[in-house]
Protein backbone atom coordinates (compact mmCIF):
# COMPACT_ATOMS: atom_id res chain seq x y z
CA UNK A 1 0.00 0.00 0.00
CA UNK A 2 1.01 3.60 -0.50
CA UNK A 3 2.00 5.96 2.29
CA UNK A 4 2.98 9.60 2.34
CA UNK A 5 5.31 11.15 4.88
CA UNK A 6 5.98 14.73 5.82
CA UNK A 7 8.56 16.19 8.15
CA UNK A 8 8.99 17.91 10.34
CA UNK A 9 5.56 17.76 11.94
CA UNK A 10 5.97 21.14 13.59
CA UNK A 11 8.43 23.96 13.00
CA UNK A 12 8.99 27.34 14.61
CA UNK A 13 11.29 29.63 12.65
CA UNK A 14 12.33 33.30 12.92
CA UNK A 15 11.51 35.75 10.17
CA UNK A 16 14.24 35.80 7.55
CA UNK A 17 15.44 32.26 8.17
CA UNK A 18 15.44 29.56 5.45
CA UNK A 19 12.92 26.75 5.18
CA UNK A 20 12.95 23.21 3.92
CA UNK A 21 9.95 20.90 4.23
CA UNK A 22 10.12 17.40 2.87
CA UNK A 23 7.49 15.06 1.51
CA UNK A 24 8.07 11.48 0.40
CA UNK A 25 5.73 8.87 -1.01
CA UNK A 26 6.19 5.12 -0.71
CA UNK A 27 4.61 2.28 -2.61
CA UNK A 28 4.07 3.93 -5.97
CA UNK A 29 6.06 5.29 -8.88
CA UNK A 30 5.79 8.45 -10.96
CA UNK A 31 3.10 10.06 -8.82
CA UNK A 32 1.77 13.56 -9.26
CA UNK A 33 2.83 15.53 -6.21
CA UNK A 34 1.26 18.64 -4.67
CA UNK A 35 2.00 21.24 -1.99
CA UNK A 36 -0.93 23.02 -0.34
CA UNK A 37 -1.06 25.68 2.36
CA UNK A 38 -3.86 26.09 4.83
CA UNK A 39 -3.93 29.42 6.63
CA UNK A 40 -5.74 29.60 9.96
CA UNK A 41 -9.51 29.28 9.51
CA UNK A 42 -9.31 28.98 5.76
CA UNK A 43 -9.46 26.33 3.08
CA UNK A 44 -6.52 24.87 1.24
CA UNK A 45 -4.63 26.74 -1.44
CA UNK A 46 -2.57 24.88 -4.03
CA UNK A 47 0.99 26.20 -4.08
CA UNK A 48 2.88 23.86 -6.41
CA UNK A 49 2.38 20.64 -8.30
CA UNK A 50 4.72 18.30 -10.13
CA UNK A 51 4.05 15.64 -12.74
CA UNK A 52 7.62 14.34 -12.83
CA UNK A 53 11.21 14.76 -11.69
CA UNK A 54 12.34 18.34 -12.11
CA UNK A 55 8.92 19.46 -13.36
CA UNK A 56 7.37 22.09 -11.10
CA UNK A 57 4.34 24.27 -11.72
CA UNK A 58 3.64 27.23 -9.46
CA UNK A 59 0.07 28.28 -8.83
CA UNK A 60 0.57 31.54 -6.98
CA UNK A 61 3.43 34.03 -6.78
CA UNK A 62 5.01 33.88 -3.37
CA UNK A 63 8.08 33.64 -1.23
CA UNK A 64 8.31 29.86 -1.63
CA UNK A 65 9.78 27.43 -4.14
CA UNK A 66 9.52 23.70 -4.73
CA UNK A 67 11.79 21.02 -6.09
CA UNK A 68 11.48 17.37 -7.00
CA UNK A 69 14.95 15.85 -6.96
CA UNK A 70 13.68 12.27 -6.98
CA UNK A 71 10.57 10.55 -8.27
CA UNK A 72 8.90 10.28 -4.87
CA UNK A 73 10.39 13.27 -3.08
CA UNK A 74 8.93 16.76 -3.08
CA UNK A 75 10.57 19.64 -1.21
CA UNK A 76 9.16 23.03 -0.29
CA UNK A 77 11.74 25.76 0.38
CA UNK A 78 12.24 29.39 1.15
CA UNK A 79 15.41 31.46 1.36
CA UNK A 80 13.89 34.00 3.78
CA UNK A 81 10.68 33.32 5.65
CA UNK A 82 8.01 35.98 6.11
CA UNK A 83 5.42 36.18 8.88
CA UNK A 84 2.76 35.48 6.27
CA UNK A 85 4.35 32.10 5.52
CA UNK A 86 2.92 30.72 8.76
CA UNK A 87 0.35 27.99 8.21
CA UNK A 88 -0.30 24.31 7.84
CA UNK A 89 1.47 22.79 4.84
CA UNK A 90 0.08 19.65 3.29
CA UNK A 91 1.63 17.41 0.67
CA UNK A 92 -0.53 15.19 -1.49
CA UNK A 93 -0.08 12.62 -4.24
CA UNK A 94 -2.11 10.87 -6.86
CA UNK A 95 -1.92 9.05 -10.13
CA UNK A 96 -3.33 10.82 -13.16
CA UNK A 97 -7.10 11.39 -12.84
CA UNK A 98 -7.30 9.58 -9.51
CA UNK A 99 -8.06 10.69 -5.97
CA UNK A 100 -5.48 12.77 -4.13
CA UNK A 101 -4.19 11.44 -0.82
CA UNK A 102 -2.78 13.78 1.77
CA UNK A 103 0.11 13.57 4.19
CA UNK A 104 -0.13 14.40 7.90
CA UNK A 105 1.00 18.00 7.37
CA UNK A 106 3.63 20.35 8.79
CA UNK A 107 2.61 23.22 11.02
CA UNK A 108 4.91 26.20 10.47
CA UNK A 109 4.98 29.18 12.79
CA UNK A 110 7.12 32.13 11.74
CA UNK A 111 7.91 34.56 14.57
Amino acid sequence: SQTIHQWPATLVQPVGSPLSLECTVEGTSNPNLYWYRQAAGRGLQLLFYSVGIGQISSEVPQNLSASRPQDRQFILSSKKLLLSDSGFYLCAWNRVAETQYFGPGTRLLVL
Binding site: L44, L46, Y49, V51, E59, L90, N94, E98, T99, G105
Partner: protein, 114 residues
Amino acid sequence: AQSVTQLDSHVSVSEGTPVLLRCNYSSSYSPSLFWYVQHPNKGLQLLLKYTSAATLVKGINGFEAEFKKSETSFHLTKPSAHMSDAAEYFCVVSDPQGAQKLVFGQGTRLTINP
Protein backbone atom coordinates in the same frame (compact mmCIF):
# COMPACT_ATOMS: atom_id res chain seq x y z
CA ALA B 1 -13.01 28.16 -13.89
CA GLN B 2 -14.21 25.87 -11.18
CA SER B 3 -15.35 26.93 -7.74
CA VAL B 4 -16.92 25.53 -4.62
CA THR B 5 -19.11 27.25 -2.06
CA GLN B 6 -19.75 25.70 1.32
CA LEU B 7 -22.84 27.44 2.55
CA ASP B 8 -22.16 27.14 6.28
CA SER B 9 -18.88 27.94 7.98
CA HIS B 10 -20.07 26.26 11.19
CA VAL B 11 -22.70 23.61 11.88
CA SER B 12 -23.62 22.42 15.36
CA VAL B 13 -25.82 19.36 16.01
CA SER B 14 -26.62 17.12 18.94
CA GLU B 15 -25.25 13.61 19.13
CA GLY B 16 -27.64 11.16 17.48
CA THR B 17 -29.31 13.76 15.24
CA PRO B 18 -28.86 14.09 11.45
CA VAL B 19 -26.01 16.01 9.88
CA LEU B 20 -26.31 18.15 6.74
CA LEU B 21 -23.30 20.01 5.31
CA ARG B 22 -24.14 21.99 2.21
CA CYS B 23 -21.98 22.46 -0.87
CA ASN B 24 -22.61 24.08 -4.25
CA TYR B 25 -20.16 23.93 -7.11
CA SER B 26 -19.48 25.59 -10.42
CA SER B 27 -17.71 23.75 -13.20
CA SER B 28 -17.31 24.01 -16.96
CA TYR B 29 -16.71 20.28 -17.19
CA SER B 30 -18.32 17.14 -15.88
CA PRO B 31 -16.87 17.47 -12.42
CA SER B 32 -15.37 15.03 -10.00
CA LEU B 33 -16.47 16.00 -6.51
CA PHE B 34 -15.07 15.02 -3.15
CA TRP B 35 -15.64 15.45 0.55
CA TYR B 36 -12.59 15.41 2.79
CA VAL B 37 -12.51 15.53 6.59
CA GLN B 38 -9.79 17.08 8.71
CA HIS B 39 -9.51 16.41 12.41
CA PRO B 40 -7.57 18.98 14.49
CA ASN B 41 -3.90 19.24 13.52
CA LYS B 42 -4.24 16.31 11.13
CA GLY B 43 -4.03 15.81 7.40
CA LEU B 44 -7.08 15.37 5.18
CA GLN B 45 -8.90 12.07 4.89
CA LEU B 46 -11.13 11.23 1.94
CA LEU B 47 -14.75 10.63 2.98
CA LEU B 48 -16.24 9.98 -0.43
CA LYS B 49 -16.05 10.93 -4.09
CA TYR B 50 -18.36 11.32 -7.05
CA THR B 51 -17.01 10.54 -10.52
CA SER B 52 -20.11 10.40 -12.78
CA ALA B 53 -21.33 6.98 -11.69
CA ALA B 54 -24.23 6.71 -9.22
CA THR B 55 -25.49 10.09 -8.04
CA LEU B 56 -25.83 8.90 -4.44
CA VAL B 57 -22.37 8.21 -3.10
CA LYS B 58 -21.71 6.33 0.10
CA GLY B 59 -18.55 7.01 2.04
CA ILE B 60 -16.82 6.00 5.21
CA ASN B 61 -18.21 6.39 8.74
CA GLY B 62 -21.83 6.42 7.57
CA PHE B 63 -21.59 9.57 5.47
CA GLU B 64 -23.15 9.92 2.05
CA ALA B 65 -23.60 12.67 -0.52
CA GLU B 66 -25.95 13.19 -3.42
CA PHE B 67 -24.88 14.79 -6.69
CA LYS B 68 -27.67 16.98 -8.08
CA LYS B 69 -26.69 18.45 -11.42
CA SER B 70 -29.83 20.58 -11.73
CA GLU B 71 -29.04 22.26 -8.43
CA THR B 72 -25.23 22.11 -8.81
CA SER B 73 -25.10 20.72 -5.30
CA PHE B 74 -23.23 17.96 -3.51
CA HIS B 75 -24.49 18.03 0.07
CA LEU B 76 -23.01 15.72 2.70
CA THR B 77 -25.33 13.91 5.10
CA LYS B 78 -25.25 11.42 7.94
CA PRO B 79 -28.37 10.04 9.64
CA SER B 80 -27.00 10.10 13.19
CA ALA B 81 -24.07 12.19 14.42
CA HIS B 82 -21.39 10.75 16.64
CA MET B 83 -19.02 12.69 18.87
CA SER B 84 -16.09 11.51 16.75
CA ASP B 85 -17.57 13.31 13.73
CA ALA B 86 -16.50 16.67 15.14
CA ALA B 87 -14.03 18.02 12.58
CA GLU B 88 -13.59 20.35 9.61
CA TYR B 89 -15.17 19.19 6.36
CA PHE B 90 -14.12 20.31 2.90
CA CYS B 91 -16.06 20.05 -0.34
CA VAL B 92 -13.73 19.82 -3.29
CA VAL B 93 -14.05 19.88 -7.09
CA SER B 94 -11.33 18.70 -9.39
CA ASP B 95 -10.05 20.15 -12.59
CA PRO B 96 -9.87 17.16 -14.94
CA GLN B 97 -7.18 18.76 -17.06
CA GLY B 98 -3.46 18.51 -16.52
CA ALA B 99 -2.42 17.42 -13.05
CA GLN B 100 -5.96 17.31 -11.71
CA LYS B 101 -5.81 20.36 -9.53
CA LEU B 102 -8.26 20.44 -6.66
CA VAL B 103 -10.34 23.47 -5.76
CA PHE B 104 -11.37 23.55 -2.12
CA GLY B 105 -14.31 25.12 -0.40
CA GLN B 106 -13.62 27.21 2.67
CA GLY B 107 -14.63 24.41 4.98
CA THR B 108 -17.43 23.73 7.45
CA ARG B 109 -16.63 23.16 11.08
CA LEU B 110 -18.93 20.51 12.55
CA THR B 111 -19.51 20.58 16.29
CA ILE B 112 -21.31 17.74 18.05
CA ASN B 113 -23.12 18.52 21.29
CA PRO B 114 -23.54 15.74 23.87
